[in-house]
């Protein structure tokens, strides 16, 4: 794809395991260090931080975005990108709200949310693989299309009145302070972690991201893998839409605006190479935790969300820039 065919990005390391894994290890340990530091600073600066219920509330800052980030990580490792995820949330949520009038019940609502998400993902997949469009612009298009359809249906109105049993997904607790969303995120993280690092399918994703041509010659069905990844991202966006809609209890077309960029920030911060080919799910989970805790800690200190976003933006650039500067200094 376009943005990655640059001069410096086509170097394929010949000793893949030793150097690369060492580097990746240090990346994740860096993230752990950041997470611990944020945790300590937070607990020192606010007496309300170390409260089980407060911490439990704080998890909402990252669980829904994290669900999508897991799938987005795979898409980015394969060398593509999906900017339409927040649009999918809007459309899936709108579909669920629309279905309310037909009295489909909670199971029906969830099924609708998930299938609309999957259909949107499939549509992205067709654009990228069958029609061969660059994913970055194709999904900018579908991002407007999906959210636009949501605006067409809803205009300036909102859907309310979700059944009480539907509230469990975004507001329910599984055990004591452990929310359903947190359990769901943890389970999905394990699933995606296994999928990426322990299965054949996971290895092919790395292969495609490192060199799609070589992957094709090695007998990997590149297009089919990419199609599955876009479908999976759509499905996870549908899942996030179920959780978010359930938590908010209403649907507006502006739901989850700007999330695509926050999710990509999460993924890149987690050490996934934006040019494809490397990164781990552990990193993404750690990045989700860091972002969630930073957001929560700043919130406790009454620092407005927008100032927080400066910090996240700086973190994103610094975390990418530091290893580059470090390597350059070491080289002399």
């Amino acid at each position: 794809m376009s943005l990655q065919d640059d001069i410096k990005t086509r170097i394929i390391p010949d000793r893949l395991n030793s150097r690369l894994s060492g580097y990746l290890k240090s990346w994740e340990s860096l993230l752990v260090a950041v997470a611990v530091a944020v945790f300590i600073i937070n607990s020192l600066s606010s007496p309300y931080f170390l409260d089980a219920w407060n911490l439990s509330d704080a998890t909402f800052n990252f669980t829904e975005k994290g669900l999508i980030a897991l799938a987005m990580a795979l898409v980015i490792i394969s060398g593509e990108i999906d900017l339409s995820v927040a649009g999918i949330i809007a459309l899936a949520s709108t579909a669920m709200g629309y279905a309310l009038q037909f009295d489909v019940g909670t199971v029906g609502l969830v099924a609708i949310g998930l299938s609309v998400g999957a259909l949107c993902g499939l549509f992205n997949g067709v654009l990228v693989t069958v029609m061969g469009l660059p994913s970055i612009v194709a999904t900018i298009g579908t991002m407007s299309l999906f959210r636009g359809l949501s605006f067409v249906v809803l205009g300036d109105k909102a859907f309310n009145g979700y059944p009480t049993s539907f509230a469990f997904f975004g507001q329910g607790y599984v055990f004591w302070v452990i929310t359903f969303e947190l359990v769901l995120f943890a389970a999905m993280a394990v699933l995606f972690g296994i999928l990426l690092s322990k299965t054949n399918f996971g290895r092919t994703i790395y292969a495609i991201g490192n060199n799609p041509t070589a992957a094709l010659f090695s007998g990997i069905r590149v297009d089919r893998v990419k199609m599955i990844l876009f479908l999976l991202t759509g499905l996870m966006s549908g899942l996030a839409a179920v959780c978010l809609t359930s938590r908010l209890g209403s649907t507006r077309p502006s739901i989850a605006t700007g999330w695509e960029l926050e999710i990509i920030t999460m993924v890149v911060l987690g050490g996934i190479n934006i040019l494809g080919g490397s990164g781990t799910i552990v990193g993404v989970v750690l990045a989700a935790l860091v972002i969630g805790m930073v957001t929560f800690g700043f919130g406790l200190l009454n620092i407005p969300g927008i100032v927080m976003s400066i910090f996240i933006g700086l973190l994103l650039i610094l975390v990418i820039a530091l290893p580059i500067v470090y390597r350059r200094v070491r080289k002399g």
């Binding site: 194709a138 900018i140 407007s144 636009g148 041509t213 920030t265 100032v307 400066i310 650039i317």
Partner: protein, 326 residues
């Protein structure tokens, strides 16, 4: 001849004429010269920004921070105008351009000196610049009554039948035409995007060219920042939120290839006008403005599909990406 007829600009111009013609059949008022001037004026800011974005995309980069840059530069001059109404307007416009250029240069430096992928850099600066507006303004609005009359009047004042805002867009188009065709920098934008390796061998500094492209996009964002806040006579944290994607959409619809190296000034301008016509036509033909987003989304997808088809015809690509992978 066939080539000219099938060229992207002609096809797009034809589509725009067809679109306006269709609307004019039902609503003749839409093609009154007055209204056409209005539509152009309404699209002026998008045209200016699309030209800046084109310079960046030509070099295989992308700038997601233009709308935040616009809002920040706009806020800076709006606050100065509110605090010191005596500062002459040309000085403020100059300042807006300088602030914008510096913000763009920051993007360019990070891409040039640190080799960070442009999408990551501008994703970061998108949130940072937006956040800085809050920091300098403390979340407060600069409202119409706080701005000086001259500050608000400039984009509206009419010269030779057209508002200054339109003239600025026309001047920018003219400059872009000249720069892209006649200046070494304009040519190197294409060279860098077309084949960075070859560009290096021909003595073009790839990184520096990208830096220049980002700075130009930044400067134009700064200019658009002044135009935006003075035209709408208000400045707050969220102005032009999400506009970065409309800017990219205008370029893509105009045939600028996201893979770099392909695109023209005329195309980018027509792409912006296409979006402008749609935006202005919907209320006229009594379609809810809520359709706007879905329609421009569809337009982007169709445009990209057309781009990919036209790009495929050149050369023989046995495997997709085989060319790029060399």
């Amino acid at each position: 001849m066939k080539r000219i007829l099938l060229s992207r600009e002609i096809m797009l111009a034809f589509a725009i004429v067809l679109l306006t013609g269709g609307i004019a059949l039902r609503f003749p008022g839409f093609i009154a010269p007055n209204n056409i001037a209005l539509v152009f004026n309404d699209t002026s800011i998008l045209i200016i920004l699309a030209l800046g974005q084109m310079a960046v995309i030509l070099t295989r980069c992308i700038d997601l921070s233009m709308a935040s840059n616009l809002a920040l530069s706009g806020m800076v001059v709006a606050m100065i105008n509110a605090a010191f109404p005596g500062v002459p307007i040309p000085a403020l416009i100059g300042l807006a351009i300088i602030v914008g250029t510096i913000l763009g240069a920051v993007n360019g430096l990070l891409v040039w000196k640190l080799d960070i992928p442009p999408i990551v850099v501008t994703l970061g600066t998108l949130t940072i610049y937006r956040g800085l507006i809050f920091v300098i303004s403390d979340g407060a609005w600069v409202n119409s009554h706080e701005m000086s009359a001259a500050f608000k009047a400039l984009p509206r004042s009419v010269i030779a039948g057209l508002p200054v805002l339109s003239w600025v867009a026309i001047a920018t188009i003219g400059l872009a035409f000249f720069a892209i065709r006649r200046l070494p920098l304009g040519r190197s934008l294409y060279a860098v995007g077309g084949d960075p390796h070859a560009a290096v061998y021909t003595g073009i500094d790839v990184g520096k060219t990208r830096f220049m492209a980002f700075s130009i996009a930044g400067g134009l964002s700064g200019l658009a920042g002044y135009l935006w806040v003075s035209r709408y006579a208000v400045s707050y944290v969220d102005i032009a939120g999400g506009f970065e994607l409309s800017i990219i959409a205008a370029c893509v619809i105009g045939g600028v290839s996201i893979a770099g190296g392909i695109g023209s000034v005329g195309g980018a301008v027509l792409g912006a006008l296409f979006l402008g016509v749609i935006n202005n036509a919907l209320p006229v033909i009594n379609v809810s403005p809520f359709w706007q987003m879905a329609i421009s989304g569809t337009a982007i997808i169709v445009a990209v599909a057309l781009n990919v088809r036209s790009e495929r015809t050149k050369g023989r690509i046995i495997l997709k990406r085989a060319e790029a992978a060399v």
